[in-house]
Symmetry: C2
Subunit: 516 residues, 2 copies
Amino acid sequence: MNIYNLPCTMYKFYLSLHQNFLRTMATELKDLTKRSDDYSKWYNELVVKADLAEQSDVRGCMVIKPYGYAIWEKMQQNLDRMFKETGVQNAYFPLLIPKSFLSREAEHVEGFAKECAVVTHYRLKTNDTHDGVVVDPAARLEEELIIRPTSETIIWNTYKNWINSYRDLPILCNQWCNVMRWEMRTRLFLRTSEFLWQEGHTAHATREEAEDRAKMMLKVYADFAERYMAVPVIQGVKSETERFAGALDTYTIEAMMQDGKALQSGTSHFLGQNFGRAFDVTFLNRDNKPEYAWATSWGVSTRLMGALIMTHSDDNGLVLPPALAPLQVVIIPIGKNDQMSMLDEKADVIVNNLRAMGISVKYDNADNKRPGFKFADYELKGVPVRLVLGARDLEHGMVEIMRRDTLEKQNLPVEGIEEYIKQLLNDIQQNIYQKAVAFRDAHIYECDNYDEFKERIKDGGFFLCHWDGTAETEAKIKEDTQATIRCVPYAFEQTPGIDMVSGKPSVARVLIARAY
Amino acid sequence: MNIYNLPCTMYKFYLSLHQNFLRTMATELKDLTKRSDDYSKWYNELVVKADLAEQSDVRGCMVIKPYGYAIWEKMQQNLDRMFKETGVQNAYFPLLIPKSFLSREAEHVEGFAKECAVVTHYRLKTNDTHDGVVVDPAARLEEELIIRPTSETIIWNTYKNWINSYRDLPILCNQWCNVMRWEMRTRLFLRTSEFLWQEGHTAHATREEAEDRAKMMLKVYADFAERYMAVPVIQGVKSETERFAGALDTYTIEAMMQDGKALQSGTSHFLGQNFGRAFDVTFLNRDNKPEYAWATSWGVSTRLMGALIMTHSDDNGLVLPPALAPLQVVIIPIGKNDQMSMLDEKADVIVNNLRAMGISVKYDNADNKRPGFKFADYELKGVPVRLVLGARDLEHGMVEIMRRDTLEKQNLPVEGIEEYIKQLLNDIQQNIYQKAVAFRDAHIYECDNYDEFKERIKDGGFFLCHWDGTAETEAKIKEDTQATIRCVPYAFEQTPGIDMVSGKPSVARVLIARAY
């Protein structure tokens, strides 16, 4: 039987059977655990199978593969532009920090200095048996160097030389770099010993300006998360316990994953004069009096990749927002050998039109992979729109278009398909955002009863509860339920109430959740 | 005397006196050593005074300041695009490399393993007196980790899992990252313990394809150097002695600095099957037989910043090629207070027009710095074009335009100045390239007499000399003169001759120079 000689409807029916068969095959190839079976395993598998990242042979350090890195690059490009629009400039500071710097800011060292990679020597030598290398004991450093876990210390040590007068302020620097915090239990993107991030470090002449900057950068993060990642976030301020080491205030954006857990996705810190004082960074203010400089720092990391993956993806694989998808549209031809040149020609026109509209597109006419395999692979990789150019469909001026977010297929006229795709990409971006908002909003609860809270927190979700403001209550909640106070949310009308744990008065509800 | 009431020509004369006075003041501010007095000191001062970079308190590690980093970003953007146009994708591999990896490729360890930062511990703890931190002796790593001096080992250890069949090849990965090679004597950008670079690592099914890739990437580097940096380079292949550790062939681009010394500006290595063998990376070839994968690696680093600075700059400061200048045009107003709003308005139009043409421009109407100070500062920073909006000039529809490369000034009608600027930026780009070519060509000599060579090499320059191909001769030249064989140049018609040192037959002339 030559399926291409069948009437159009039968051909399509056959094709759909055939595609289902191929999809089954390909699905086995990808063999992804279902979210409902094991959310955590689903995530771990997805990251690897979708070619985003993998564990390296170096404990706790990941390899970010080209497809994963391409998403990260799109995040970087957009964030970088958004930072620059607020006057921030990029710079680069040393990877290694003298050990003594870490103890300069007392609170900071408590929070950070413990688990980090320590460089003690600067030379290897050939071993006695001449088949390997050993550390040269003669090449011991006088003072050990730490691989930066974050760069406040080395940067404020540098700013000291840059700042003399209020005229030198503000300084608005950012760096894109790698950092290292030794982690015992690691998960790709979510918690790795080495990760990539950006860290902004600003110095200001007044407290107010620094506080405004810290809040401004949180706003940039929230905008980025919502507009580009399509991840709704709750903005708020951390409790004292959860603050960054050395900060007077830590602002945070918290996103809800599909298992109802919170993922802290970005933080911005108002550091007061702590680092100015620790590194003796003074300036002459407008009254010609010396004053310590005011500081902020703020960062997002490759952890955002985890937020992106866990917010939208499904049991078929990744679902990527068009704004960050390395590839927005894939076109796959289906036809006999002698039809391929016609299909190639047609595809060429569509590809050029889409590219001219700024849409990234790949025409995959590789003949060593079957269409069903390609379908499953691009689904797994979350390409937002798939166009199937079927030879028979095209004879009738039609193409099949599938949107990855809903997996809905449509047959549409090929004429004008480019405009349709442009609109569809916008729709997908909006739809996955709205879907995430709806999911999140359906899993936010006000709760005033601690027993009820303890029961319901097991199923995940964000809880808005009254809190008496004490670290003791906070610790008890964490001990009883593993949940933590994620933040005091900004955009929430607050009324006083009673702490659900202690029964003491509370001025505001806080957001409590189990978190990554 | 109010100069604004003087007749136009007198006003200009006065203004020019005044500007000269201000320039003298500002020149003292910048106080740059002359190239002819001490080229090396001139370079060191320029890097710091032009706000490109500075030494950090961490031995051998630099801080790249925002202005310097902005140039590096422009280099990255263009190189990155050029790499991607050849099919390369970005990825990220771990910073730390297990010590044992380094001894896997025997030649590689000889060349690299010795001077590097060694991580031996992963935790600090508070000291006994509770006023600092010490390394926790309990947290000693079983196997020491090395901060990557280059990533062939960790990457080929990863590729092992990516490659099974010729269908998985080629793999064309690049990473932008930091690397570390412990250096005893460092110079900003030219030789620092930590530096930023890109390293491409490709794997291929055939020797030919790998060799072609290595040569292709050298071509990309040469194109970038010449078209963007306006730095002419000589492409060639290294002698065995000067090859990368583990390479079968190292291709190089060599640029001539204004002191006649060579700066190796980029290298591309054909690695044969050395890393495939060392890390057991085999694939089934088209005949279904296992074969070791063929490799290349190639890199350029922040050293390019050194090449850029030293090729074009002069005693007044940086001269930047418009293609890489963070700021291509600066507009400075000169007028009385009541004229400023008119000047601001006029500037606004020009700024918008230039931006619409894709030209980066800054209007500097800051009133806390005098025009002369601004002039000197933008000269120091190498901004290619300066426009002075003088209130009086503008009344006659004229502006003053200065090109940084020649310091030539012209008075031109403000009408149509944008088009003129666009053309001028192209002219500057071409002019500084041609100037560098002319300088380089005037300092390349054929030389067949060793005594003459030894005398003339003292003044710098590139020497094309016959070489018998032995490491002994190479070593003797180096010992006698500190000069090294930079490469066997590609684009040079070769005729056999006699080695100037040994008197033995030679098949080709090589390029010999003292080098950075």
